[in-house]
């Protein structure tokens, strides 16, 4: 029996890299959103340049589940190379849409799926002579055919095409023509719609559809960043590029046409963070965007910035391990390398946005925190939220908000004779005052070093001075607990001994899984941590539950380690739920893993 589902299914496009499918696939996704139905697309792109496989998975969910689900209800099979695996991943009763220009033996299909062949190449070759046109319009033709098959409102698609080519109006008519060629073929040859359908709904609201990297970059603009130094690395590159393009739009001085920002593509990640440290030392808000290998390369500088107490913001868009391949897949595996980055006794502030909305919010807030705490701040995104479009609450700002430049002693204060000791804890919060270079002719200059100094920044190798400084840094880290975003609690509908701690891009899958588990009678209190160092809210939450599952997307249970070490938790109390195959975590996975673990606990409990 073919799957019957309205506004709740997964379409997976299997494409050939470099074939221009990305914009057509996005058109497909956006059309459904415009019909008021939440959609979450995910790019799955291996480290290939051209001619190799790439996938685009679209989850349609009127209920608003934005996490990856797993499985495929409709396969759009445009890549013969991956055909076998793609077909095998279709759910029983699912559908396959393919280019039937060349006949494919029946043995290549499955008995339990519905086959929808459209001779896309044939249609294209008949209509177009230019090779590039044949390729690009083929993509639009399949969007047209899919619109008919899934009952997507064609007027919505037409409108989006009009918006997409606004200013290049010549392109509108040919695209509409291609769209209708596909649509007409489907209507004439199949019974439309099929079992999977899109129906107008009102579940999108005022949400926006944007990538986390773009959002974080805009956050940097609103956070007052003026200096960006970066080195290209997937999946963070688009963050620096988005900052560039937003600055071009929002940060050009109207009178002179000059830039109120400076962006340098550095020679490597060492230079990137070096420039950020130099700019931060000199009183500009500066950031870099990178991924795991970049964090590894920046370690030495991060220690210097920590000890020299220099504001810096690092956006780490996390991915898998070293070299290339899995690194173009998503993971949350830089937690420990960021939290304890560098040699010596260092500890860093981390922020964990769950989606683009928070990537914007934390992206801006990170600069206030960096200046306030005079230390590096890490904003930990990952490929799943960084490089994919995600529906999220619109970006929010308050015009009464002011940039918090932290404790900076001014020329007037120095002139008035205020005591200045660069590493002097005046206010009891561990945070000293600093001066920008060039502030006052006679006062406030100091020499910046790592650890070898006293409270007045004079060279000192005395053990007592070193210890004094380290204790102040520890106090400062305590202060940070109350400044980072607080965790968000989502209580179960009834009292429970089971808790879950999770963070970042895991959020939608976790929320969906919690609902699925609740339906099975497993009730969970959820705590989404949004910052490190952990406040007492986190340790209290753990104390209030007999068991706490820590759900994360890495193999070594890095957040769990951090919780154990920093909050002094008994390891037995924290059960790791780990997903690390490079694909985004799914509600199905979490439901099964927690469900199995709960069963085990219950079995053990029965005498």
């Amino acid at each position: 029996m073919p799957i019957q589902s309205i506004n709740d299914f997964v379409v997976r496009f299997a494409n050939v890299n470099g074939s221009g499918s990305a914009s057509a696939n996005q058109l497909f996704a956006r059309s459904i959103i415009r019909m008021g139905v939440p959609v979450t697309p995910r790019n799955i792109f291996p480290s290939n340049i051209q001619g190799l496989p790439t996938w685009y998975e679209v989850r349609v969910s009127e209920a608003g589940n934005l996490g990856a689900r797993g499985g495929t209800d409709l396969l759009v099979a445009m890549n013969p190379q991956t055909w076998k695996d793609d077909v095998a991943a279709i759910e029983p009763g699912g559908y396959i849409f393919y280019d039937s220009s060349r006949s494919i033996p029946k043995s290549q299909f499955r008995d339990d799926i519905t086959v929808l062949g459209v001779p896309l190449t044939e249609i294209c070759n008949k209509r177009y002579t230019d090779a590039r046109q044949r390729q690009l319009f083929k993509n639009i033709i399949y969007v047209g055919a899919l619109a008919a098959l899934l009952d997507i409102d064609i007027k919505v698609v037409e409108q989006l095409i009009g918006e997409q080519f606004k200013g290049k109006d010549k392109l509108i008519a040919p695209n509409l023509e291609a769209l209708h060629m596909g649509r007409d073929y489907a209507v004439q040859n199949f019974e439309c719609p099929i079992g999977l359908r899109v129906r107008h709904a009102d579940n999108v609201g005022d949400r926006i559809f944007v990538e986390g990297n773009t959002a974080a970059a805009l956050g940097a603009v609103y956070g007052g960043a003026t200096v960006c130094a970066w080195y290209p690395i997937t999946p963070s590159t688009s963050l620096a590029e988005a900052f560039m393009s937003y600055c071009q739009r929002l940060r050009i001085d109207k009178e002179t046409g000059q830039n109120k920002f400076a962006i340098v593509q550095a020679e490597d990640e060492l230079a990137s963070i070096g420039m950020v440290v130099g700019a931060g030392w000199n009183g500009a808000r500066a950031f870099t965007a990178t991924s795991g290998p970049g964090i590894s390369l920046m370690q030495e500088f991060l220690g210097l910035a920590y000890f020299a107490e220099i504001p810096a913001v690092i956006f780490d868009v996390q991915r898998g391990g070293p070299s290339t391949g899995i690194p173009t897949r998503t993971q949350q595996s830089d937690i420990l390398s960021c939290a304890y980055a560098s040699h010596g006794d260092t500890k860093h502030v981390l922020l964990f946005p769950e989606d683009p909305h928070e990537a914007f919010e934390f992206g801006a807030q990170a600069f206030d925190l960096a200046d306030r705490l005079q230390t590096p701040i890490f904003v930990l995104l990952d490929l799943d939220i960084g490089s994919n479009h995600r529906l999220c609450a619109p970006f929010a700002w308050d015009d009464s908000r002011k940039l918090d430049r932290g404790k900076v002693m001014t020329a007037a204060e120095l002139e008035a004779g205020k005591d200045f000791g660069r590493y002097l804890d005046v206010d009891g919060d561990g945070i000293p005052y600093r001066t920008y270079p060039g502030t006052h002719p006679k006062r406030g200059a100091y020499f910046t070093r790592g650890t070898t100094k006293d409270r007045y920044a004079r060279y000192s190798e005395e053990g007592a001075d070193y210890v004094d400084n380290m204790e102040r840094l520890a106090k400062k880290f305590e202060t940070a607990k109350s400044l980072v975003p607080a965790p968000v609690l989502k209580s179960a509908s009834r009292k429970t001994d089971l808790g879950v701690i999770y963070f970042g891009s895991t959020a939608p899958a976790m929320h969906e899984a919690a609902d699925m588990l609740a339906a099975k009678g497993v009730h969970l209190d959820l705590l989404r941590v949004r910052g490190f160092p952990f406040s007492s809210d986190v340790s209290d939450f753990i104390a209030e539950h007999e068991r706490v599952f820590v759900v994360e997307q890495n193999k070594d249970a890095q957040l769990r380690t951090l919780l154990m070490v920093e909050c002094g938790i008994d390891p037995a109390q924290l059960m790791p739920i780990l997903h690390y195959d490079g694909n985004p975590i799914t509600a199905r996975f979490v439901t099964k893993a927690i469900g199995d673990a709960v069963n085990q606990i219950q079995e053990r409990a029965i005498p």
Partner: protein, 351 residues
């Protein structure tokens, strides 16, 4: 080692500059380098150059990496902000600092290990970006802090204190800087203050990437017979291309040179370098000829010193980036934050 301030008293008739500062105002605490170290002479030359140019000390930012040379910024310009960064990475920190505030004078102090080995890449890229700075390498061909290993600028065949000969080809930072697009390139010798001070002054006035390779013998580990970076060797093999007088617009030219051997080079801001040519055929504006001169003199077994190359109308990083004239670290909320109305438009465009 702890910190040793210098006594504050001085001669009642001590000379003051236009700002009323004495040279004492440009000093720092007492140096902890070895007695007789060439680096201390370079610190002295920096102090003299800044004093004579009447630079406000607090408008200088001095940055260094790690090594003997990189310790020296502590010992001069005590009223300037300084930053002892990490090994080989001064250039990136200086670049970032310069991006943040284009109005200060950036003095980068480095060594041959710091710039020619671990930081070779950063040296290269800061130069090619045209960062407005004075970049001085205190070049002794040896790792002093770790007791005498060869550095990448040690000449082939030069002997270590223990008698081992260096087998690797040396890196010539002057030739590199030329190739990388430095707009002011010079080499000098810590033992020749008469040459070094005007070079530093000219480099300070130069509004672009100014590079000075200053040979600075290490008295502890590289001042023996068989070393090509010893005081005796450098004195005996110094082939000066020119000697300089640096003249600000107001001061009359007083030096007396043989007619025809003097060339006035006017800088962008109207100051003048009076260049006394010692090598007849050396034209400081001809980069190709400068590279040839370096090779020719090196082939003779000598060391070319003096002003090697000058582009008197350079571009700098900020010109290339089209940055606003005001320092970026002075921009405020109104300059930087686009506000709610702009955000509403952005949100609308994402639906």
């Amino acid at each position: 080692m702890t910190y040793l301030p210098k006594p504050k008293f001085h001669h009642p008739d001590i000379e003051t500059n236009e700002l009323g500062f004495t040279h004492r105002d440009y000093e720092g605490p007492i140096s902890t380098l070895c007695a007789g170290c060439g680096h201390d002479s370079i610190s002295g030359a920096i102090i003299k150059a800044c004093f004579e140019l009447s630079i406000e000390p607090h408008r200088v930012a001095k940055l260094s990496g790690i090594g003997c040379s990189s310790k020296t910024p502590t010992y001069f310009l005590g009223q300037s902000h300084g930053f002892n960064t990490v090994h080989g990475r001064m250039p990136s920190v200086l670049t970032g600092a310069n991006m943040a505030n284009r109005d200060l004078l950036y003095l980068g102090v480095s060594g041959d290990g710091d710039s020619a080995s671990i930081g070779f890449g950063q040296f290269a890229h800061a130069i090619r970006r045209g960062v407005n700075m004075v970049y001085i390498v205190e070049n002794n061909g040896v790792y002093g802090l770790t007791k005498g290993q060869f550095s990448a600028t040690a000449d082939k065949g030069s002997k270590s204190k223990k008698g081992a000969a260096n087998r690797d080809t040396p890196i010539d930072l002057v030739a590199m800087a030329l190739q990388l697009g430095a707009t002011f390139v010079a080499r000098s010798f810590s033992g020749d203050k008469g040459q070094l001070v005007p070079l530093i002054k000219a480099a300070i006035e130069h509004k672009g990437a100014a590079f000075i390779d200053c040979i600075s013998p290490c008295v502890a580990f590289n001042n023996h017979e068989g070393s090509t970076k010893s005081f005796d060797y450098v004195r005996a093999h110094n082939a000066a291309l020119n000697s300089l007088d640096f003249i600000t617009g107001r001061v009359p030219i007083t030096a007396d040179y043989a007619p025809g051997s003097v060339e006035d080079v006017t800088l962008h801001d109207g100051t003048t370098i009076k260049l006394h040519k010692l090598a007849e055929d050396h034209d400081v504006r001809d980069k190709g000829a400068a590279i040839n001169a370096l090779h020719r003199i090196q082939a003779r077994g000598e060391i070319a010193t003096g002003l090697v190359y000058l582009d008197s109308d350079p571009d700098d990083l900020h010109a290339n980036l089209n940055t606003i004239a005001r320092p970026l670290n002075e921009l405020n909320d109104a300059d930087l934050v686009p506000g709610v109305a702009a955000l509403a438009k952005i949100n609308a465009g994402l639906r």
